[in-house]
Symmetry: C3
C-alpha cells in the first residue's frame, strides 16, 4: 500500500517545474556535448578509481572523449550497484533512448553515438531543461567572475567565497581580487572595501546567495580590524602563516562576508564539514573527505550575531542532520538545505528527510539541489530525491498521520520549490 | 500487513494504564485552564519564533490568554507538519471535541471557548488523567520544594538537582539551600550535610528518583573534601570561579548526590547532553541546544564506582543512542530511559527503539516519559510513542522473529509500565 | 510484497556455501561439546550479568557445565528479546531438534541432554559446518601460534597483532616474541626483524590476513627507528612508559606490520574503535565498550602511505559507518568489512547495509563475518545477516531500482562470498 501511494505522490510531484538552488553549471556551456562530459563527473572517475582502475588510465592526458568513455565503461560492472551509476543509466534512458538497464562494453558505443547526436542538436540545452522540469538554475561563481554573456535570470549568480576565506595567502588569489575590484588591499580596512566591491558587482547582476564550504574545524567569530591587520601584514609579506594567524584571516574574511550579506540582504549558504585533499593521489575532485566530529555549536556566535541573515545549511556528515534539524527548529535564521555529497544517497536522504519533515517548520526547508556540473544530472538526481520524499510523505504523513494526499503534495511542493522562492527571493 | 498488525498491537497497548516517570507537572495546578496554557508550551512558542514570528509578539508582557492563542495560531500554517503541532491537534480532538485536522485563524476561537468550558469543569484534572490512561505522575521538584499540599501518591516527588550541581555560585541558590535545610554551608563537609537534609526531607515524602540534566562537557569523578573546600571557599567569597574550580564544585556536589542515592536507595536519572542558552534571544525555554560530541565514556568512573545505584539515562543527541544501548547491555546499573527532547520525534524514536528492543535486557528499558508541563500532553505524546513501539514490535518481533502477538504485547507492556514499577520501586 | 520478496531472496542466498572471513575459532576444538560451551559465549554471560545476575554466580570457579547452563537459563526471561538470545534459540532449533521458541527452566534440561548427545557424535564438527553452509573459516591467531596440528586449508590462519602493538611493555609478551622468533629484540631494527620472522612463519602456513583491534584514540603515522629506539630502550628497562612513548612504540610496531603486509601481500584487517576494560568488574570478555568520537581521518596518513595494502575495515560505532562508506568510495585500498560487535544487530546492520550497497563499489564490500568462538554460531549469525541483506536487496534494488531478482541475488552472492575470495585471495 505504501509503495503504491508513494509512487502516486511521486508522479504528481514530478509535474512541478523547479528552480535548482545550487549547482556548478557553467552558464557558457551548461549542457554536455558527449558522454565523456557526463561520465567525466567526478563520481564516475573516483568510483572507477576506487574500484581498482589506475588514475593514470582514467586521467591520461590527451585522451579523446570516446576512448575515455570506453575506459570508464570497463569499470561499471563494479559500480552498477551505486546510486551514482543509476543516475547515469536513468539519464541515458530519459534523454538518449537507451533501453538497457546496464551500460556495458557491448552496448556503450551505440549509446555514445546516439547521445552525441542528441547533444549536438542546437536547442539541446533547452530540451534538457524542459524535459527535466527545471526552469532556473543557481550557479557557483568565482568571486572574480565577470558574470557576463549569459542570461542571469535563467542562470542565477551565487557568490562562492572559499578562495577569499581560505586561500587569501595565495598570491594568485590576491591578484584576482585586485583585478576584479581595482583595490590592492593592504590591511583589514581595504580588504573589507575590496570585498564590498565584489558584493556590489554581484548584486548588480542579480546574485541570490553567498556560499562557502567549510572544514570541520572552522568556528566563526568576530575579529577586529586590528587583529586582522597583524595577520594580513604577514600574509602580504608572503610569509607562511601560523595556524592561529591563518584562522584570524579566515575568520575576518568570513565575518566581513556575513556583514555584507546583511547589507545586500543575501542568504549565506554554509556547507559544513569537508576536509580537502585527504587523498591527494585521488582523481580530480575525488580527493576530499571528512571528519564527522563537528558540531553546529561552533556556529553559535554567528547565528546569534546575525539574526538578519538567512543561513541555509548543508552538512556533509549524516550524523550532523539532527543538529541541523534542532538548530533550525530553534534559530529563526537557520534553514535546512538539501542533502550534500556523501549524504546524498537514498539511505541517508530518507532518514534525514523524515526528521526534517517531522520537526522543522515547513517554511524553512529547502528540499534539494542537484549540485550538478552538467544539466543532464538534474533529472536523475531530483528524481532520486522525489522518490525518497514521496516515501516519507506516504509513510509519515498520509499513513501515520492521516493527511490527505493533497495535503502531502502541498507540503512536498513547498520543500521542492516554494521555499526556494521565499528563502532566496527568486 | 505490518501496518495493520502494528495498529492492532497499538490498540491493545493503549488499554494499559500508565505511570509517567518524568514530567514537569506542577501538582498544585496540573491541568490547563485555557488553550493558552497548552499553546504556551515552549514547543509552540519556539517553533512559531523559528518560523518567523518575533519574540516580542509572542511574549508581549500582559497578553491575555485569548490574544496570545490568536497570535500563535497565525504561525500554525508554517508548523502543521511538525509532530509537536500534531500533539496539539490530537489532544484537542481527544479532549475538546475538535473535529478538524488543522487549527486555523478560522476555527480557533470556537475551539478556545469549547476547551475553556471543558477545562473549567471541577474534575477536569481527573477526567484528563482517566481519559489519558495515566494514574501516577513523576514530578520534577526544586531541591527546596516543601512538597506540601498535594497527593504524593499520585504526584510522585523527584529531586531535581541542576541548581545544586551547576548554580551553587549564585547567592540565591545558596540562600534557598540554607532556608530549606537550616544549614549555611562553609565547606565540603557542611555542604554534604545540607544535601543530606534534602534527601531526608524528600525521602519522607516518598521521592522515587534523583534527577539532573548535564552538559556535553561534564565528566563526573570523585573529589575530596579538601579539594572541594578550596573551590567552595572562593565561591562563598563571591568570586567568579575559574572553569577548573567550577568543575571541582560541580563534581563534588554530583558525587555527593550519588552517594546519597546509595544511602536512600534512589535511582539517579541522568539526562545527558544539553547546552543551555545557546540562543539567548530565543523565547522562554527555547534557547537550549546541544553539541553531539559527547560520550558515555565520560561516565565510566561513575558507573564503576556506584554499582548499587540505578542510572536511568536519557541522551539528547540521537547518535548517543548506540552508546546508551551498549553501556546498558554491559553495565548492570545503566538503564535506557525514554526519548528526550530533540530525540523525541518518531523518526528517531523508531530507530532508537529498534536498537534497544533488540539488544538491551528487557527488564532494563523505560520506554517513555512525557516530560509534560500540563497533563493534557500525556495522551498525544504517549500515543506517538505507542505507535512507534507497535511498529517495531510488529516488524522486528512478530514478523521478523515470529513472536506471537501476545508475546510482543507482553514485551510492550513491560517497557511501557512494568519496568517503571520495578526500576523506580513504585 | 517486499516481505515475501525478501524472504524469497533469503532462501536463495541461503543455498550459497560460504567462507567465514573472521572468527575466533580454536581449530583444535572448533565445535562445542555441551550447551555450556555455547552459553558461555560472552554475549550470554554479560547480558545475564547486565540483567541482574551477580558475576560471582555466573563465573563461580569449578562450576560444572550443566549447573552453569542452569544458572544462565534463569536469566533468559530477561533476555529473550535480544538478538543474541535469538541466535541461541535458532541454533538449538537448527541443530538439536529443539521445538520451543524459548529456553526456560522447564525445558532446558532435555535440551542440554539432546544437544550433548548430538555434539558427542564423532563427526559433529563436519555436520555442523555442512548444515551451516560454511566450508572455510578464518582464525584469529596469536602471533606465536605454531599453527600446527590442524588443516590450514579449512581453518585459515590470520595473524592477530594487538599484543605486539599495544602490549609489548609486558615482559610475557616479549618473552613469547623471543621464543617464537629466536630474536631478543634490543631496539627498532631487531624488533622489525623479529616481526619479519612472524610473517615468514605465518606466510608459510597460508596466512590470509593480518588483523588488529584499535582504540578510538589511535592514529597511525610513521615513526623512525631512532624515535622508536628511545622509547623501546625505556620499555626494555621495564619502566612504565609515558603516554607519548607508549604511542611511539605502538605506532612503530603498527607501521612495521603494515610494511610487512606490503611485502607478504596481506590484507590488514583494522577493527577500529574499542576501549578495553571500561567495566573491569564485568564478566570475562564483557568489559569493553567504546567512545564514538573517532574518525577515519586518523588513518589518512596510513591509507595514503600504503596504496598496495588492502584495508578491510570494521567499525565499532554505528555512526562510523558513513565515514567507512565514504572512505571506501574514495580510497582504492579501503574496504567495508562486516558488522562488528555492538553494531552487529539487525537495526544497525540494515541501515549500514543500505548505505554500503548504494554507495561503495560492489567489489569492495565484505558482507559479513561471524566473529564466532564456536562453530555453532555461524548459522544463526549469518542467517541474521542474510535476512537484513535480503530486505535491503528487495527494497532498494528490486523494488526501488527495478533490478531483476537474479541481479539482486548476484550482488548478494558477491558480498556474501565472492569478495571474500577476491579480497583475501582464498
Amino acid at each position: 500500500m505504501s509503495e503504491l501511494l508513494a509512487s502516486r505522490l511521486c508522479d504528481e510531484l514530478t509535474k512541478l517545474v523547479l528552480i535548482d538552488p545550487h549547482t556548478h553549471i557553467n552558464p557558457h556551456s551548461p549542457a554536455s556535448k558527449t558522454l565523456a562530459d557526463i561520465m567525466g563527473y567526478h563520481y564516475y572517475t573516483e568510483l572507477a578509481h576506487s574500484a581498482g582502475m589506475p588514475k593514470s588510465y582514467i586521467e591520461e592526458p590527451g585522451l579523446d572523449p570516446r576512448t575515455k568513455v570506453g575506459r570508464l565503461v570497463e569499470s561499471l560492472s563494479n559500480l552498477d550497484n551505486t546510486i551514482q551509476v543509476s543516475w547515469l543509466v536513468e539519464l541515458c534512458r530519459k534523454f538518449f533512448g537507451f533501453n538497457d538497464d546496464r551500460i556495458t562494453p557491448a552496448n556503450w558505443e551505440s549509446l555514445y553515438d546516439t547521445s552525441a547526436a542528441k547533444m549536438a542538436e542546437p536547442d539541446w540545452e533547452d530540451q534538457c531543461l524542459r524535459q527535466s522540469g527545471i526552469e532556473r538554475v543557481f550557479l557557483t561563481n568565482d568571486f572574480d567572475d565577470p558574470l557576463e554573456g549569459f542570461d542571469t535570470h535563467k542562470y542565477i549568480p551565487c557568490l562562492r567565497t572559499d578562495d577569499l576565506v581560505f586561500h587569501l595567502g595565495k598570491p594568485e588569489v590576491r591578484a584576482r581580487l585586485a583585478k576584479a575590484t581595482g583595490i590592492d588591499f593592504v590591511g583589514g580596512t581595504t580588504l573589507r572595501r575590496a570585498i564590498g566591491k565584489l558584493f556590489e558587482h554581484f548584486s548588480a547582476k542579480g546574485v541570490r546567495a553567498c556560499a562557502i564550504s567549510l572544514p570541520p574545524s572552522f568556528a566563526p567569530v568576530a575579529v577586529t580590524v586590528n587583529e586582522a591587520d597583524a595577520a594580513l601584514k604577514l600574509l602580504l609579506k608572503g610569509e607562511s602563516l601560523s595556524p592561529e594567524d591563518a584562522t584570524t584571516v579566515s575568520r575576518f574574511v568570513f565575518w566581513t562576508l556575513t556583514e555584507y550579506c546583511v547589507e545586500y540582504k543575501l542568504p549565506f549558504d554554509l556547507m559544513i564539514g569537508v576536509n580537502r585533499r585527504v587523498y591527494p593521489e585521488g582523481v580530480f575532485q575525488g580527493q576530499d573527505l571528512f571528519d564527522q566530529r563537528v558540531s553546529l555549536i561552533q556556529y553559535q556566535t554567528l547565528f546569534n550575531a546575525f539574526p538578519q541573515v538567512k543561513f541555509p545549511i548543508s552538512v556533509l556528515a549524516q550524523i550532523s542532520n539532527q543538529e541541523l534539524v534542532s538548530y533550525s527548529w530553534i534559530f529563526p535564521n537557520v534553514y535546512t538545505n538539501a542533502h550534500w555529497w556523501y549524504s546524498n544517497i537514498p539511505a541517508y536522504i530518507e532518514i534525514d528527510t523524515k526528521a526534517r519533515l517531522q520537526a522543522v517548520p515547513r517554511n524553512k526547508q529547502v528540499g534539494y539541489y542537484s549540485d550538478m556540473y552538467k544539466l543532464e544530472f538534474a533529472w536523475p538526481k531530483f528524481s532520486m530525491y522525489r522518490q525518497c520524499l514521496s516515501r516519507v510523505l506516504a509513510q509519515d504523513f498520509v499513513i501515520a498521520r492521516r493527511w490527505s494526499e493533497e495535503q502531502a503534495l502541498s507540503f512536498g511542493r513547498q520543500v521542492l520549490r516554494g521555499n526556494v522562492e521565499t528563502i532566496f527571493g527568486v
